[in-house]
């Protein structure tokens, strides 16, 4: 009788620990993974092709939907590519707003990551804690753009509008009234900046809470220490970026090395791992949240003191103010042309990258002198990370596959595009 040595196992695409629609074909020897073959593309929406049939500005909303837990960072990559081709630069206040919201986004993303990563490895509580903080940041998104997630807030030449002077408050209801209502609205008495400041003062204690739950936790360490080790050489070979690269001990951060927006004007540190295992990457991301908090604080201070325009005055690219459009013939023409035809980008190509929470998010844009891109290529960090799946899980147990998926921080919106 033939002896069966390995067998093939199907993991996903409908598996709660697969973080979306990942289908893994695992070649198993007992409980040890011999080979992993990820099948992706189940969420492929051809974003890049859709963008080719739309004026430039109409695709900003698609960018939110790529990596749907770090929305504004994706927008940032896209508008930066356009700005590069047009040769325009956003006003300094818009740059600070972008920096602040990029960091808010980083915290949003890392909270989502720590919540689900913890949940996958059996730490239930953290998920609820992380979502409690996420809610505040979502409210910032909503206050500034009107949408909790898919903001479409960044525009070529700046941001859609200035920060609001008022933070929306909770209304009295059957369940929220009296003292409870007052508590819930305590941070919301002032402007958005006041709200964010309250958050930044509170947040370090919250991260400390997460640390008490996980960092010295015996089970957590058993599940993450020495799992999915990536050497610095292999990390570079596989095209790793962001925390995946820094976890392996390479101090590379686009915010420091190729600064954009206002990153060269704020003070922050870049945490780096030592061994390149899941635990190191966990520590790197936890520290990144604290650093992001620092950056947000500095941005809040700056934004308080320095009012100014948040959009370029060039009305060939950015729409004129509503009032001007009503009164001025030229304003009306600009408005009409921008919202029917859009603007034309001269022939050329550009690649713009930002340090998204997951790694380098790049946009390669080929313009052909029309109002639509000829080709848009989105370089998603998760795509490169997931391609190293086989290498990272080979020889590990089945349960470690879940830890590795978690540590990669994959989101299928960006991988499948």
């Amino acid at each position: 009788m033939a002896e069966i040595k390995t067998y093939t196992m199907n993991f996903g695409p409908q598996h709660p620990a697969a973080h979306g629609v990942l289908r893994l074909i695992l070649e198993m020897d007992g409980e040890v993974v011999q080979h992993a073959d990820p099948h992706i593309g189940l969420l492929h929406r051809a974003t890049e092709k859709l963008a080719e049939t739309k004026p430039y500005n109409q695709s900003i909303g698609y960018m939110d939907r790529l990596d749907y837990v770090s929305m504004m960072c994706n927008e940032h990559g896209y508008v930066r590519a356009i700005e590069k081709l047009l040769g325009i630069e956003a006003p300094i206040r818009a740059q600070y707003i972008r920096t602040m919201f990029d960091e808010i986004t980083r915290i949003l993303n890392h909270l989502m990551w720590i919540g689900t990563h913890g949940l996958d490895l059996g730490a239930m509580t953290l998920f609820l804690y992380a979502f409690r903080e996420r809610e505040h940041l979502m409210d910032c998104y909503e206050a500034v753009s009107g949408a909790r997630m898919h903001a479409t807030y960044y525009r070529p030449g700046g941001v859609y509008r200035d920060l609001p002077d008022e933070m929306p408050k909770f209304k009295e209801s059957k369940w929220t009234k009296g003292k409870r209502l007052k508590e819930k609205n305590a941070w919301r008495e002032g402007s958005l900046l006041d709200f964010i400041e309250h958050f930044t003062e509170d947040f370090p204690q919250r991260v400390a809470e997460y640390h008490t739950l996980l960092t010295d936790n015996r089970i957590w360490k058993q599940r993450t220490v020495g799992i999915g080790v990536v050497s610095p050489e292999r990390a570079l070979q596989n095209g790793f970026t962001g925390p995946m690269l820094r976890g392996s001990g390479i101090a590379w951060d686009l915010r420091k090395k190729q600064p954009y927006a206002a990153y060269d004007k704020v003070d922050f540190d870049v945490p780096v791992g030592v061994t390149g295992d899941c635990y190191d990457r966990y520590l790197v991301r936890m520290e990144e949240m604290i650093q992001s908090n620092r950056i947000i604080k500095q941005c809040v201070d700056w934004l308080r003191k320095n009012p100014g325009p948040v959009m370029v005055e060039n009305h060939k690219v950015a729409p004129p103010p509503r009032l001007e459009m009503k009164k001025d013939m030229e304003g009306l023409i600009h408005h009409f042309k921008l919202f029917t035809e859009g603007y034309v980008i001269p022939e050329g190509e550009a690649y713009a990258a930002v340090e998204a929470p997951k790694g380098e998010f790049g946009v390669y844009l080929v313009a052909d002198g029309t109002n639509k891109p000829h080709r848009l290529k989105v370089r998603a960090p998760g795509f490169a990370h997931l391609s190293a799946m086989n290498e990272m899980v080979k020889g590990h147990m089945l349960s470690d596959v879940v830890a590795v998926i978690g540590t990669m921080d994959i989101v299928f919106g960006e991988i499948d595009r």
Binding site: G41, F240, K316, T370, N371, A384, S387
Partner: protein, 235 residues
Amino acid sequence: MNKPQTTLARQLQDHFGDAIQSVSTACHETTCVIGRDHWLDVCRELRDHPDFHFEQLIDLCGVDKLGFGLSEWKTEEATFTGFSRAVEKLGPGRFTWEERPREKVKNRFVVVVHLLSLKHNRRLRLKCFAPDEGLLIVPSLVEIWNGANWFEREAFDLFGIIFKGHPDLRRILTDYGFVGHPFRKDFPLIGNVEVIYDEKAGRVVYQPVSIKPRVNVPKTKRRDSRYLVKGQETC
């Protein structure tokens, strides 16, 4: 060949000479076009030589040049006849498979690679044209940068570019059993097939696509005074 403007462009030209076809700089980015015969040698040298040291392949993608710079809207003379008559039934998103554009374009498919050097903190864009006749074969970079694996699979899937020497060239993003290369400019935006649940058969089946192509904003080329700012460097 253009006059090299950056240190990197100069270095490339001095080091490789005739092995590279052209070097150009725009938007502070250096682009280097390499022939298929020298593709692997130059790339290996770019990775290993201390002057270049591009240890990371950041991105690899295909680009289809068909319909480049095409204007759908006759803006000059059609203004008086109205929008519907001014737009031709062409252009991205506005045709079905039967109506697809069939003209021949020279150097239609190109593989574009973005490299990053951590040591020198700089980027480089490489281009390699696929042959116009026969199969679109370009040598694979997987040996040099392992991270190219999935990127090449993607370019194969979406554009049909075949990477010679790739260890596992399968489709990656499209459905199992998909026919065609969807990101080619002659592939309709609406696709060719759609899936529905067939009650009688009790399973999901494929059928010809039932939606109509519909793109509201025409692709318009303009070179008027609005976009020609004097003294401003266009990329």
